[in-house]
């Protein structure tokens, strides 16, 4: 099937849906800047973050409720505006796409400096708006595939890191990770079903290591996506498996990244010139 502007609009709807659900999750969990009401920040070894912090915005945000509210509103309204401009085919979508991406970067930098949320979670909100920079179906096709390749590299390198840092060569790896990840929970209550389940896995390293190995394989198979789009459905399933498994087993919410699924779904559509 050919890629058309209709698909760009469908992706815009998917982006909007994912964003609203995530923003709602932040709101319900008091994780918006004006709800966090921060009193201190934590810095990290990130060049971009440290350049943004030259502005001293971190201190201004701590001091001013209104500035935090402005950032929360920008973080909410820019994706909505971008969606509106794409759906209605109005002018200005290119500027809004770039500004949305930049604001999401700055917002992510500060949310991750004030809360437990990591900046990596915001990568999807920084990259996906750039897909909508395209004015034509052809431009959309190329931007979609550029971001798709970046997304594939993120997953593939996550697998490579497990080999490079030695985790995969350690039979106790997943048992050790589970103890570390859930230590507070296990100490709080060692008898409920989840604690018992975690303790079972910790006590059976062969089983827990198998889960780690499956995770590694799921990440490494993303390399297929660099050479062909034929297996994107398989990668999509592996990606959804990763999101669900991370939430259930590790209790880490990676659903901020769900919007990346659109890249693997819309990649099946071809250009008129039979580029694939």
């Amino acid at each position: 099937m050919l890629l058309t502007n209709k698909h760009k609009k469908q992706f815009a709807w998917f982006y909007l849906l994912c964003f609203i659900v995530n923003y709602g999750w932040y709101f319900l969990n008091n994780l918006l800047l004006c709800q966090v009401n921060p009193v201190f920040f934590i810095n990290k070894l990130d060049v971009t973050r440290n350049i943004v912090m030259l502005t001293s915005l971190q201190h201004l945000l701590i001091d001013s409720y209104w500035l935090r509210l402005v950032f929360d509103m920008l973080f909410l309204l820019l994706p909505l505006l971008l969606w509106f401009l794409v759906i209605k085919e109005r002018k200005g979508f290119k500027t809004v796409a770039v500004v949305t991406s930049l604001i999401c970067l700055v917002y992510g930098i500060y949310v991750s400096a004030f809360t437990h949320l990591s900046l990596e979670l915001f990568v999807a909100w920084m990259l996906i708006p750039l897909v909508f920079y395209a004015a034509s179906a052809k431009g959309f096709y190329y931007l979609l595939h550029c971001i798709r390749i970046i997304f594939i590299l993120i997953f593939f390198t996550a697998g490579l890191w497990k080999i490079r840092a030695g985790g995969i060569f350690n039979m106790e790896q997943m048992s050790g990770i589970l103890v570390e990840q859930h230590s507070e929970y296990l100490v709080s209550n060692s008898t409920n079903w989840f604690s018992q389940f975690v303790y079972f896995l910790v006590g059976h390293p062969a089983i827990s290591y198998s889960l780690y190995l499956v995770g590694l394989i799921a990440e490494l198979i993303f390399i297929l996506g660099l050479f062909t789009r034929r297996f994107d459905t398989v990668l999509l399933v592996a990606f959804l498996f990763f999101l669900i498994a991370d939430l259930f087993l590790m209790q880490i919410n990676y659903f901020n990244w769900l919007v990346f699924a659109g890249l693997l779904y819309f990649s099946k559509y071809k250009l008129k010139e039979d580029v694939v």
Binding site: N30, L31, N43, I51, Y142, T157, A165, F194
Partner: protein
Amino acid sequence: MFLKELLHYNKKLFLCFVIFLAFFVFLNFKWGVVASPVHQFGMYSGRYTVKDTQEVYRIYVNEQLIDFTNLSLAQRDQLQFPLFYFERQKQNNLAVFTTMKRVLSKVLIGKLMKEEDYTNQVSSIAFTNWYSNKLQQMLGYPVTKLEVTAQKYIYQNNTLQPTAEPRKLPFIVIN
């Protein structure tokens, strides 16, 4: 090949994309400093063992221990991470500032970095007030007494066992 098609379609986009990819590969190969949106996705790739010592926070509100299993995932994180971060923020931020100043000095930005912009001015009392407000909001009742301890645990006999006496966090100051 996609890159060839991209070059044919738009040279500027091709250049931006190739530079981004090169930067991604370089930062991942180099191991250390990142530059958002390029990160190293190496979570849980280092070696872990079941015998690693775990330090566990225990929060006592009005002399009652908070049971983390009664809280949502996000609530648990919102109670644990601020304690962990606040304990380390002074040392961490100073270390990051020193490293980043050195890195950014190579591109002449380092001299613009002022230490006061990269460090917190928060007192222990201000942190405690903020933290007890969070607790109050989460639990739905007033916090009149608050004590937080950190205790080391180790996995043995199929359960986590304390290996040391609990350490009272000195920056929590409500009694």
